[in-house]
Symmetry: C2
Subunit: 333 residues, 2 copies
Amino acid sequence: MTASPRNFIDRVFFGFQNTATLKAALELDVFTAIGNGVMDADALAAKCDAVPRGIAALCDSLVVMGFLTKSGAGYALAEDAAVFLDRSSPACIAGIHEFLAAPEFIELVFRDPAGAVRRGGAEGLANVSPDNPIWIRFARAMGPFMAPDAKMVADHAGDPAPKKVLDIAASHGLFGIAFGRRFPECQVTGLDWGAVVAVARENAAAAGMAERYNTIVGSAFEKVPWGEGYDLVLLPNFLHHFDRAACTGLLRRARAALAPGGRVAIIEWIPNEDRVSPPAPALFAMTMVLTTPKGTTYTAVELAAMLADAEFGTPTVIPLIPTPLTLVLSHGV
Amino acid sequence: MTASPRNFIDRVFFGFQNTATLKAALELDVFTAIGNGVMDADALAAKCDAVPRGIAALCDSLVVMGFLTKSGAGYALAEDAAVFLDRSSPACIAGIHEFLAAPEFIELVFRDPAGAVRRGGAEGLANVSPDNPIWIRFARAMGPFMAPDAKMVADHAGDPAPKKVLDIAASHGLFGIAFGRRFPECQVTGLDWGAVVAVARENAAAAGMAERYNTIVGSAFEKVPWGEGYDLVLLPNFLHHFDRAACTGLLRRARAALAPGGRVAIIEWIPNEDRVSPPAPALFAMTMVLTTPKGTTYTAVELAAMLADAEFGTPTVIPLIPTPLTLVLSHGV
């Protein structure tokens, strides 16, 4: 018999404990403290203002989780941690736990998971309630994670060079800003709730394109006009919050806002047609059941059908490797 | 470059989400509902009183996690789930989430993980506070998980047949009860807090050994006498809550309670000397930092040193495969 209770114990208990372990590691900034060197628990404890016994338990767990290596008593960064968790690395995404493991998020996910499955979604509007402050946290924390995706999208959707881009639910604004950076003539408009789009405006100013960055304050579902004549309408990480009817409605508005020959660019967690691979997009459907009333993930085939309903042509599907996101590009027909 | 943010996203977010997913699955009892058959989301939704869209997201996540398989639209149990999560299986441990993912536990682990690392332990007494109700939950939920370990311990520590066994921090009482089941002459005494040892008494009655099961109500650290002349003193899942001085004190009391030739049996999460393997015992040191003021895991070498200090001989170390626990047996010298 090969059956073992280990996977179950791992998932039911160490799953959430390991999230807390990473939160502790990032708050104490142990990855930056170790940097490119090798440190033992005593040296690291002194550097992180903690006791060696706490640091040793923390770092041993981080070894098990694959973020550190251990040789004798010395800890060093594993490759992923060196690239993504050391704050001196340009690709550092260490801050994303401030959104992904935010207390509000953990509370929402654990509130009543069985009830969410019974209903097919969270009770009430949950994460999609108007002006929910979680999205300010998202805009502040998730920029570094989205930056490589934003750059890849500007690479893939940059021919012909767009002169006028609309970024729906812009959040941190990085997807629109990537076009502004790449195309010095490009005017970018970000739409989001007031307190959220303020973060996009800050990021646009930091990118030196304040005078080319416009904002529309409001919800994508309200009557606030989107304008027209855009070469590109971006829908980054947005459709998964809603059901098909709502998504198709958004795509129709995007279609109406495009100049002739314009395109929509959807950036999404897209599972394969089996819905159980790749792992992260496959798990993301449950994220939507736990945190939104009607959200889910859509496969490429489902997105193509919604696009067709909104008068778009057959899409091009481009996985944004090594991130878990996928770009779907489609021309209006 | 092979670096990918996927492990980090997986751990920081899906780690805790997957715990909630398993909670939902166990509360809806989807594993028992599937049983030995194959079911699609519609049939399963009808059986579990949930909507298909919720069940599909749940089951697709359970496929990613290795507890279900999927072929076309049909879900079936993976081997681990058939053995451990289907309530009609005799080895089912589905209820352990009621302790391991209890709201109190999740709250404690996420309260201030960085602070726990800084101090080297939880603030206050946390899980080891007197009469903490979490241990009633433990006693009720964790019995099925400990049953195979209890049986293996009675197998390994049953020669010569013990006539008088003391079970310290007995909880569900299953370790002592395993000796009572195996040896019809054996008298068993369980020590634990009043509300907890009541669970042990219930379990002893259910095993038909009520008249051979005695209890001592109190804490192992109070002056309540342990009695004497025991052939075996059990310390199951107890030492990891305390520091070395406290553990050595407990072992000395165990030594004093033994008859000549008597033994102590420690059941523990024991990491290898590198402290980063095997995974579950290695992660368990962090569990103790997050949930107790001074607890940790001890290696076999460390336990041997504490045993020597308490006048025990060189221990025999027996991993209780396939569970993550290890038995350490030692004679008084």
